[in-house]
Symmetry: C2
């Protein structure tokens, strides 16, 4: 990592870092952290064992990068959805539908990488737990801002505070993602979304 301090810059990384992380993310997403072996990652990325360690540190370090990349991917998709929506309730609804599309795309959905990570690793590794808490916190902030806007524009009722609805939506979204792993039925999933949102109207 002293590359920028060097005068010479011989042999530089040849592989596409983003692509490698994308492939690694696929492995972790499909198998989970513990069941994903270094050999799986070697096979999926096309990189050599030692190259992975050279460039990414350890399996856990690589996993953390995948989590962050996944989080960023969500962030990008989300802002795209939000720009399209004319009001808060539609934005939230579109968000759920965006997830549903992802869930139904693969025949065997493996759920949300981050939610799976909560289930598999929360309160075990410190770095992971710290990431998960930060992720949760930013998700809640995001939801709260969205609800607050909806309440100001009278799209969302004020039976509960924005903070309370944010917690509810956060919890509901996790449940929805979990449910979709086994319920691969568009009608059922749509019904769940409608019922989740019913209380906000």
């Amino acid at each position: 990592m002293k590359r920028s301090f060097q005068i010479d810059m011989p042999k530089v990384e040849t592989f596409n870092r983003e692509l490698v992380i994308k492939h690694a993310t696929g492995v972790f997403h499909d198998k989970g952290y513990n069941a994903a072996s270094m050999q799986d990652l070697v096979d999926a990325t096309g990189l050599n064992r030692s190259s992975i360690y050279n460039s990414f540190g350890s399996k856990l370090d690589l996993f953390l990068l995948c989590l962050k990349s996944y989080q960023y991917g969500f962030h990008k998709k989300t802002t795209a959805v939000l720009l399209d929506a004319d009001n808060a309730i539609n934005a939230i609804e579109s968000l759920f539908y965006m997830y549903m599309d992802i869930m139904l795309k693969d025949n065997n959905d493996r759920g949300c990488l981050i939610t799976n990570c909560v289930s598999e690793m929360a309160n075990h590794d410190e770095k992971i737990t710290s990431f998960l808490k930060q992720n949760q916190s930013s998700m809640l902030d995001f939801m709260e801002a969205l609800v607050k806007k909806g309440q100001l524009n009278n799209n969302i009722n004020t039976n509960k505070t924005a903070n309370e609805y944010a917690l509810y939506l956060f919890s509901s979204l996790q449940g929805f993602r979990m449910t979709g792993i086994l319920v691969q039925n568009k009608k059922h999933l749509t019904s769940i979304i409608k019922t989740i949102l019913q209380t906000l109207n």
Copy 2:
């Protein structure tokens, strides 16, 4: 397993089968399936390696027994809660509070063993997936019957069918259990429960 066909019945199992499964369940619940090693199970149960294989088959077989035992434990707790409740909406609420108590009891909740299993293993192993689907199906049936009763007694509104509310509650419960892993805050969890139930009134 030909024991019952034998005339003689020498040396019989000495350990308490239920207790062994309870201890094994603790390990699986804490670490997840993949991260739980046979050594962990040997340590936790006090049984010898070979005794575990003799009496329970494989690690996966033992895990399946733990899942079933966990499911049965839920069933027992649930029926106790239901007998105490005077109406369906109270029953559902008590159910969520029952979960909350479990979640707050341990400082570091590890979520629901079965939900974690969905996240870690669904759509991988056939036996596991079959168990999970059966569990989901019976949970949905249970919820639907409860909601139907509530709707008959005018405790639960008929904006949605009992089947739709069952799906919603099932999804919500999973989300609630996931959320509780990182949100160890009674006020927040209580708020989530209230918001989940608001739509049924």
